[in-house]
Amino acid sequence: MVISWCAAAALAATVQLQVEPESLVAGQTGRARVLVVSGGRGDAQANTSRPPMLAVQDGLQAGYVGQMSKFEARNGSITQVLQFDYRLTALQEGVWTVGPVQVALDDGTTAVARAVRVAVGPRPELGEERAAVVVEAGFDVREAVEGQVVLYRYLIRTTHAGATAEWRLPAFDGLRRPQLGKTAIREYSVDDPDGVIQVQEGLYPLIATGTGQRDQNAAIATVKIPLGRADMFGFRRVRSEPWATERAELRVVPLPPPPPGYSGLVGDFEVISRVDKRLAAVGQSIAWTVQIVGNGALEGYSLPPYEAPGAIVYEDDSRVVGRVEGSEYVSGAAFHRVVVPTEEGALQPPPLSLITFSPTRREYVTHNVDLPTITVMPGREGTGEVTSFGSPGDAADPVDLAAPQEIRPTGPDTTLRLSALMPALLLVAALPGLLVLWASAAGWALRRARDRRAARQGAVSPASLVRSLPSDPEERWAALDAALTATRASEDGPVLSALHAQVLRVRFAGHAPDAELEDEVLRAVRGVAA
């Protein structure tokens, strides 16, 4: 998996199988997922209509749940991750195997994920009380070697729905955090016949720098358990409970006396070498890449110097990555070199030796990287003509490029920095514009308020207009006019039209009002309103 992870971004699609958790109690249901990681468009893809078969042994039962696709930034490049989810139910006690998983890709190839082991423990006796909160912390190994990367795992299991925990970890005396690789936080749930168990787990990578007994103090988890129902704003009261884990035990043993040429790397590593061509001309560049992948810290490491007879070897760039993947720390480095042959014939570069210390084997391991034989052809010669594009007079004074430029006897002794004044100056510069914008916004808001008020006034009903008529004759006839106008807007007819014409004549033509006219208008308006 280490190799597949490191190569994922650069090579073809790779497949990973992850199980959460890796230990269950009989009757519980966990999760398994198959991740198909590819470089996106152009790379081979998995068939999404046929989820891969997840083979399990008799003590487990697997069922397909669903799939999703997402894009992630991995190692500085965008990769597509296709995820198939499965439900994994523990049926019998024992240690069982899930996988391996084979995924057929659309380019005809098959990618394989290695199998994962799942331990199924016995179910507690009936009536045995189960703790509502369990906190655990410890290292993944009891004994490490100086320089080895160890994982500090802290975990809370709770049956309280929605409970969260804030952790205060120990000081980690004699250990330090690697520059590459952040703490991996995982949250998942386990379906148990007695209720759902929420699990929050953190994996913190550390490098053992001090030797001797390096036991660490307890980690403190402040568990926040929600109480009652959520209020109208969606908030719930919580009860905080402090929980302490056991001390984490770790013994760090010093490295044995190193052999000459030891690289300083501690971990189980694999070294891969690749050249981009096996046939080249004299003077042609051959790209040579050395990849180191493993579970140890690679930060600050660079390849030992290398010389090949019949060629010049130049250092190119290098790239180192490291992260917690699943339940282990994985790291990878790619060192690029350029080999330029200087003689024709068969170029046989000597092997590159790299000595590391393997914590699992407890011994120094020598990795010999053999380079293939490269056939070097004679280089082609050019005509050797030189063309000059400048006029002959321009080249009068040759310049010694290796001599430093002269000092300058004049110029400012000090430079005015604007940075301190800049915020205030920007604000002053923006102020007139902001004032204009504010005035425009205020004018718009005023107009809008006025329009709304007018709209509200225009919505007054004809009946309400005639409910309280003013005593002043002119205002009274104006109100009757408005009431008739509003009435005719909803329902018109010859009677209303004639009445309205009489009212207009009274208002604007100086006609004396008919004694019955006002009563007729009121009847007509109220009649329509009714």
């Binding site: 290098s318 430093p404 000092i407 430079t415 005015l416 920095r417 940075s419 920007l426 514009g433």
Partner: protein, 233 residues
């Protein structure tokens, strides 16, 4: 602003004093005169830093020369003579890690002060357009767009300037002729993380208890004794 600048030029004469010393072949005196400007709390100019770096290059004090030339390049990023002498100084060194870059790529073309001035002018122009075109919607949109652009440029300049000020470049001097040691913590008893040869250009990220937290051009970090490095600014 102009008056202040002219005042600085007129009042100084430090450059001329140092130049006379160089002409007389007294490089130590020139370094002393020019170094006094920053030691007395003054802000050195790009020309002064360039002169200091050039003289130190001639004296073979390569790490110090690189520190001053980096400071000069920060204040005069488009000055070819500075980059020429900086390249010469680096070429004189042996195999050192790649130099730590500036916080942002645009700083190798324009200084935060120049960019800030551009932002200021843009903001002013935006305000002017808003005032002139306040009666039409098009005028307001045009003015707002120019003003927002100017403000954005100004903010980039302010942030960039602050980063440059607080994360300066330092050059490893070495410890008694040996490589400088980067440690796990700001203490002489802390574990050794890395050794860097003299002349390595690193970025200072923090300053604590006589130590710098530095990062080299390959992204490797560690605590370095302040006496083992020369700060560019």
């Amino acid at each position: 602003m102009m008056a202040l600048w002219l005042g600085c030029v007129a009042a100084a004469g430090v450059l001329e004093d140092g130049a006379r010393a160089v002409e007389a072949g007294n490089l130590d005196e020139a370094v002393q005169v020019w170094s006094a400007v920053s030691e007395e709390g003054g802000r050195t100019s790009g020309v002064l830093a360039y002169n200091l770096g050039t003289v130190q290059l001639r004296r073979g004090e390569l790490p110090q020369a690189i520190a001053h030339l980096r400071a000069a390049a920060r204040l005069r990023p488009r000055d070819g003579a500075i980059h020429h002498n900086l390249a010469l100084s680096r070429a004189e060194l042996g195999l050192v890690p790649p130099p730590a870059p500036l916080p942002s790529a645009w700083m190798s073309v324009v200084t935060p002060g120049e960019l800030g001035l551009l932002g200021l002018l843009g903001t002013l122009l935006g305000s002017l357009l808003l005032v002139i075109g306040s009666r039409s919607a098009v005028g307001r949109i045009r003015g707002s767009a120019v003003g927002v652009l100017g403000l954005a440029v100004g903010v980039v300049a302010i942030v960039g300037g602050a980063r440059l000020e607080h994360q300066p470049i330092a050059v490893i001097l070495g410890e008694q002729g040996d490589d400088a040691v980067l440690r796990d913590a700001a203490s002489v008893n802390a574990g050794v993380r890395l050794r860097l040869p003299a002349g390595t250009e690193v970025q200072v990220q923090r300053d604590y208890a006589g130590f710098f937290l530095v990062e080299d051009g390959r992204g490797r970090r560690g605590w370095l004794a302040q006496s083992a490095a020369a700060r560019g600014w």
